[in-house]
């Protein structure tokens, strides 16, 4: 089976500081992967590169079969070919309702003309209600998303990610601001989603990662320090050193 996402020897420098250093990484079409690593390890920057927000200085990033060179695409085109992203700081459109946020994310034609002629049909509304139920916002569809709590915004952004129906989901710190019950629900949701598509989760909360029960990649100073099961990597002396030694 060939990889869905293949990152090869990527490096990024910000004003002389190497945030990503010769990083290589790959993930299969239906795989769940957790990425951990101390603050500033480059986890978010890695997602920035895959989604086209940051251009690397060197290296290759390929997606899908036949492989598409992501470094040649604009952000919107990368999103369109099936890579969705949830940001570390939840970013939803606060001046708009939960329904409208989900409806914009819903997988549909994206051109201005298509949007002008768009009318939410039964199927789309059904899908939005289904997602809203999944993320616990079924009773909040008409509310402005700016009025939601931090945790609810997290959920809404996860909902928007699901609505896009991507092949690869990049989820940056989903558990922040969630209650214990919500965390469990999130892990369930991510595990279920990863049955049919690839999911990469960045998370600091080890309990959360443990519940994902998936392979873990440890990033440190912009490159992969260790890879394997959680118990395997946490037993790795280098990893222990990075987490405790500073």
């Amino acid at each position: 089976m060939s990889a869905l996402l293949e990152v090869l020897g990527v490096s990024v420098t910000f004003d002389g500081f190497r945030a990503i250093n010769d990083l290589s990484f790959s993930i299969q079409p239906a795989e769940l992967r957790a990425i951990i690593g101390p603050n500033g390890a480059g986890k978010t920057t890695f997602m920035d590169i895959v989604t086209g927000k940051t251009r690397p200085d060197s290296g290759r990033v390929q997606f899908g079969t036949p492989p598409v060179d992501l470094l040649r695409l604009r952000e919107s085109d990368i999103a369109k070919i099936g890579i969705g992203r949830k940001f570390q700081r939840p970013t939803v459109f606060e001046a708009q309702t939960v329904f409208d946020n989900l409806s914009m994310a819903l997988k549909n034609e994206r051109s201005p003309f298509a949007a002008l002629g768009y009318k939410a049909d039964r199927r789309d509304i059904g899908r939005i209600e289904e997602i809203a139920a999944e993320i616990g916002l079924a009773d909040h569809l008409r509310r402005l998303s700016g009025e939601l709590s931090h945790g609810q915004k997290q959920w809404l952004e996860i909902g928007m990610l699901l609505a896009q129906d991507p092949q690869l989901l990049l989820v940056d710190e989903p558990a922040a601001g969630m209650t214990l019950g919500e965390r469990e629900h999130t892990t369930d949701l991510l595990v279920r989603t990863a049955k049919t598509r690839a999911v990469i989760v960045v998370e600091h909360d080890m309990e959360f990662v443990r519940r994902l029960a998936c392979p873990v990649t440890v990033l440190h100073e912009g490159s992969v320090l260790a890879e394997g099961s959680l118990s395997h990597v946490t037993a790795n002396p280098d990893v222990i050193e990075v987490y405790l030694g500073r």
């Binding site: 952000e75 708009q96 914009m104």
Partner: protein
């Protein structure tokens, strides 16, 4: 779930009603069709104000809804005026020339007619040939099409270059100012083919309708302006209430984020920039026959800045806010600068409004920005909501 356009834009019905009532009242009191209480001059001011409200709606779409602070939309307004002005001036001069030549023994050849028209129109700038850009000036349908095509193309090309390079914020505003400035400087030149600083004049005389008094024509134009404004309002309301409007507002609020949902921000910006340029041009094409003259000074960079001030004072992101701002400020402005406002003697100093109006306007702009960032419409919204609660 009820999601229709009228449900989302309840102001549309109210607006159309108010507009109809105003236009009917003006007609009832007009010199041509009514009691004569309302002088023709005022009918023209009303008609022109309606056109300014229309361009304010365009400005609100591009700035209030999409967040693009264009300081160049008056250029499109002026260009629309020029395009229709070319026909008005050419066709009317043609009528005059043919009438005066018909007294000659031999009927004039088309060449002679054209030469005479050229001398008539371009004598003021020392020319006598009809420039190439006037090739279609004899044809009303073509010039009407050009009202849309020329400003539309300019906006399309300008927008494509600017948005593709991701020019945003204040840099884009400066770029649009540069565009208007360049256009107005070009038009100021005598060899621009559009009569330099004289501009196009006599536009109130509609070819073929010269027997009809201005009092009647002014009413027709006022109705035309109201119709255009009504259609513009409904169109704008429709555009912003659907998914397109949601994406546009999302671009305003966080353009980087909406890209990651797969939307091409550039395509949407280009679309809204061009469509609002066309609306502005149509407004201009209806405005200038009522004003009678269009010249390069109309396209001066400051005009587009005023447009932004109107919308800011009225309340951006609300269509009726733009309309209120444009009507209020432009009417007040012509009242104060027209010398009608009584001077204010302070004993030691007399405030002459002709000079001080600008200061007052600037001050109100600052106050609105500081204390009522949502403008007049925002305060209005708050009142309505309090009543409801």
């Amino acid at each position: 779930m009820k999601n229709t356009f009228l449900a989302r834009q309840p102001s549309v019905i109210v607006f159309i009603l108010v507009l109809a009532v105003i236009t009917l009242l003006a007609t009832v009191f007009s010199e041509a069709y009514g009691s004569g209480l309302l002088p023709t001059n005022y009918v023209k001011i009303l008609g022109k104000t309606l056109c300014l409200c229309l361009i304010a709606i365009a400005m609100d779409l591009v700035w209030g809804y999409c967040g693009i602070l264009s300081l160049g939309h008056f250029a499109f307004f002026g260009l629309g005026g020029y395009m229709i002005g070319m026909w008005l001036m050419y066709a009317r001069t043609e009528d005059i020339v043919i009438a005066s030549m018909s007294k000659a023994a031999l009927p004039p050849t088309p060449g002679e007619v054209r030469d005479a028209i050229g001398t008539q129109i371009f004598g003021v700038v020392g020319g006598s040939d009809v420039p190439v850009i006037w090739s279609f000036a004899h044809s009303l349908p073509i010039q009407l099409a050009l009202v849309v095509i020329v400003p539309g193309l300019l906006a399309l090309v300008f927008g494509w270059l600017a948005f593709r390079s991701r020019v945003t914020g204040v840099y884009l505003s400066i770029l649009t100012q540069a565009m208007t400035l360049a256009l107005s400087l070009y038009l100021f030149q005598n060899d621009s083919g559009l009569r330099g600083n004289n501009g196009l004049s006599g536009l109130q005389n509609i070819p073929g309708l010269t027997d009809i008094p201005q009092s009647v024509i002014s009413i027709w134009f006022m109705w035309g302006s109201a119709l255009a404004l009504g259609i513009g309002y409904v169109f704008a309301g429709w555009i912003v209430s659907g998914k397109f409007g949601n994406v546009v507002k999302a671009i305003r609020d966080d353009e980087a984020r909406i890209r990651f949902l797969g939307y091409s921000v550039e395509a949407y910006k280009l679309f809204i920039f061009t469509i609002t340029a066309v609306i502005a041009a149509i407004a201009g094409a209806i405005y200038y026959p009522q004003a009678g003259i269009v010249n390069p000074a109309e396209i001066a960079p400051i005009a587009s800045i005023y447009l932004a001030v109107w919308v800011a004072i009225g309340g951006r992101g609300r269509l009726y806010g733009a309309v209120i701002g444009a009507a209020l400020v432009s009417l007040l402005s012509s009242w104060f600068t027209g010398g009608q406002a009584p001077d204010l003697p302070l004993g030691f100093y007399t405030i002459k409004w002709v000079d001080w109006w600008q200061v007052l306007l600037g001050l109100s702009f600052v106050l609105v920005t500081l204390f009522a960032p949502r403008g007049i419409a925002g305060m209005f919204d708050r009142l309505v909501r309090k009543d409801a609660a």
